[in-house]
Amino acid sequence: MADLRSDFLGIKSPNPFWLASAPPTDRETNVVRAYEAGWGGVVWKTLGEDPHVVNVNGPRYGAIHGADRQLIGFNNIELISDRSLQTNLQEIKKVKQEWPDRALVVSLMVPVREESWKAIVPLVEDTGADGIELNFGCPHGMSERGMGSAIGQDPEYIENIARWCKQSTRMPVIVKLTPNITDIRQPARAARAGGADAVSLINTINSIMGVDLDRMAPSPNTDGKGSHGGYCGPAVKPIALNMVAEIARNAETSDIPISAIGGISTWRDAVEFITMGAGNVQVCTAAMTYGFKIIEEMIDGLSNWMDEKGYSSTDQFKGAAVSNIVDWQYLNMNYVAKAVIDQDKCIKCGRCHIACEDTSHQAITNMKDGERYFEVKNEECVGCNLCACVCPVADCIEMVQMTEGTDPRTDKPIVAEYANWTTHPNNPGAVS
């Protein structure tokens, strides 16, 4: 049985699954329930200065649904903790005492003043919490007040605040990054420069979920008006994965420990983030959708997968996929793949045909001897993978590499050597 114990910045937890700072970690009741369910750790819902903020009394959440109302994307306009600092600190202290083996990190957000940060950090340290996470990510409400993502978008602020915090505590400091930015490596570098121990990402993405066509207002809305909110859930996973990868594969940032967040809903999502360099993972939307019980599937799935693959600790595959993320120009131009349709699995819906016919390369038939029949024409197929993407049956269409002969589309011989764009004859800037 694989050992799932996790050590992130010296913060120990029985497994690498933490709950991200959000409603699931808003109060003692929730956190205790989460620990009871088996979560390895939590990042407590972000604390701020008193007087505490207040939330709207109308809808805070919106969602994008897939077929059968599966929740695909989630959005919120919730602010940071709307309870007094003292209440939170007391609960944190009590919970940490009662659950010493679980990670408990406290998320913080106060105005950009040295004294504010230096005042709150020791209060947290007194609770016995394991670490702090600086919320530079919240993209709604708090950002209008010069906090949250307003900070995360300014490397200088990030660096300064990280430094103030490091100066005032022995606890590890994690900087939580906003994805509402063009180059995620810059805030990561700033965090590092300020002395932060790690980054966590992503926080939520600015979004408007839809328009209520009867009220001509965003949906959901509060009394007919809506504000942009933070987007998260399964839909943001690819964005988060890319941002994690950018940090992990960039020489200047590659040694920064990463706590990965964003759309993690299953053990497999978690493994993917770890292979992309994450030290542990945080979950919010999946827990808000299904409750804390999903941790059972996550722990079990991770453990079984590791056993199957022969891994005994998560460190053994941490970052394993990072070196395979490269810039486009280094992709092998000599690699040729063709789509192959497994006729035994094909249900003859014809979606591959019409997708390729209308929007790709007219490379799939639709008839043979007067019967519906879908087959790839190798002389037209560019290997783009569209057909496999739209096929409703898993593994029915596969992209198979050509290893010898001639590509019937280009009439060029298949060669085994690697060759990329940097030397390609069509590249005006090619180096020979």
Binding site: I347, K348, C349, G350, R351, I354, N366, P392
Partner: protein, 452 residues
Amino acid sequence: MGNTSNTQGISSGRLDAGQYKQNFDDIHSPLDSHQASVEASRCYFCFDAPCMTACPTSIDIPLFIRQIATGDTTGSAETIFQQNIMGGMCARVCPTETLCEEACVRNECEEKPVKIGLLQRFATDSYMDKDRHPFQRKAETGKHVAVVGAGPAGLSCAHRLAAMGHEVTVYDAREKSGGLNEFGIASYKSTNNFAQAEVNFILSVGGIKIENNTALGSDIELDALRQDFDAVFLGMGMGGVNNLNLAGEDMDGVMNAIDYIADLRQASDFSSLPVGRRVVVIGGGMTAVDIAVQTKLLGAEDVTLVYRRGQDQMKASVYEQQLANIKGVKIVQWAMPAELISEDNVVRAIRFDYATTDDQGKLVATGEQFELAADMVFKAIGQKFINSVFGDSESPDLNNNRMVVGDDRKTSLSNVWAGGDCIDGGEDLTVAAVEDGKVAAMSIDQYLKTDS
């Protein structure tokens, strides 16, 4: 103490009121909007969709389902009505298990097709619940077409012609329009007087006049119609019934399934219908299943359906056969009626020969026999076209005693078209009749534009 299922002989009121209501309620409850949206999301929006090919009226099924999924229920219904103005009835009565749903690619992976029929019902019901019509009638052309028969074929034809701006007069022998939708279809498929609601919906396009109680062959003649109108469409269905050719077929208790079903469909109170304690049905098609199931639902204790060949040859689909089984009907195969046994000219039993096929595939008696006690024997071995309706008029060519038509549903007569059950090769399905009427209307429209 009232009657029960085992009250001897023939009697009415075998069940209590609640039981009748339950028995004759919708056989498939309609989908609510949540169920419809879940089901609609199962559709793959196939290219050149097999379901669409399988639908005799070629409804664009992937499109109408996508419209449901995206919340455009109105557009969805319009997509359906564009091809099939009786989309509402067809959603209730089509044997989808042998049509669109049989072709659904979901059968390949999950053996569970998208519930196309129920989705179609969802869309059309939502549309018809509001007072509106999907077609805007074109400017009047001044042409006038006679349609004989206000069943699915005739009404479909009349509707399409009217929509194209022609004036239509429909003649029907019966006092009510709708054909077998009104007088034949099983009660639990068409509840709440849907057939009449649909007739009104169709007529609301404008330009159609119906003359009920007017029969071709007695009240009107084909030659005269051809003179008085620019074109004629014949959709009389099949008025006649095949006989068993046994001695004593006119004895009490032996009856045509069709006639009994018509009474049942018109009954305002099911408890008033007399039904036997022991019922024997002879036949293997939809009518046989329908009479068997409905007599069972009326409270008959024992209902046996006897068919002379095997399960595969039964015209009733496997699904229909299973329905009969579930409702408690016993199905006996490979047996053909040999003798009606009576007492005082009232049927008491019927004797059957076990049957098999000989080397040439011809049906022969095995020599073994059995007898079934019966208070009622229903003949459901097919209907036939009554060709005497042509009287002294010139008759269109017939084959197998049904009218011969081309792909355009035109008969051998210069300005006469035909469709539905009365044509040769007809499939005896509501949806096929609707398609015939529509195709004929397009051909008539073409003819009216060019040839006259």
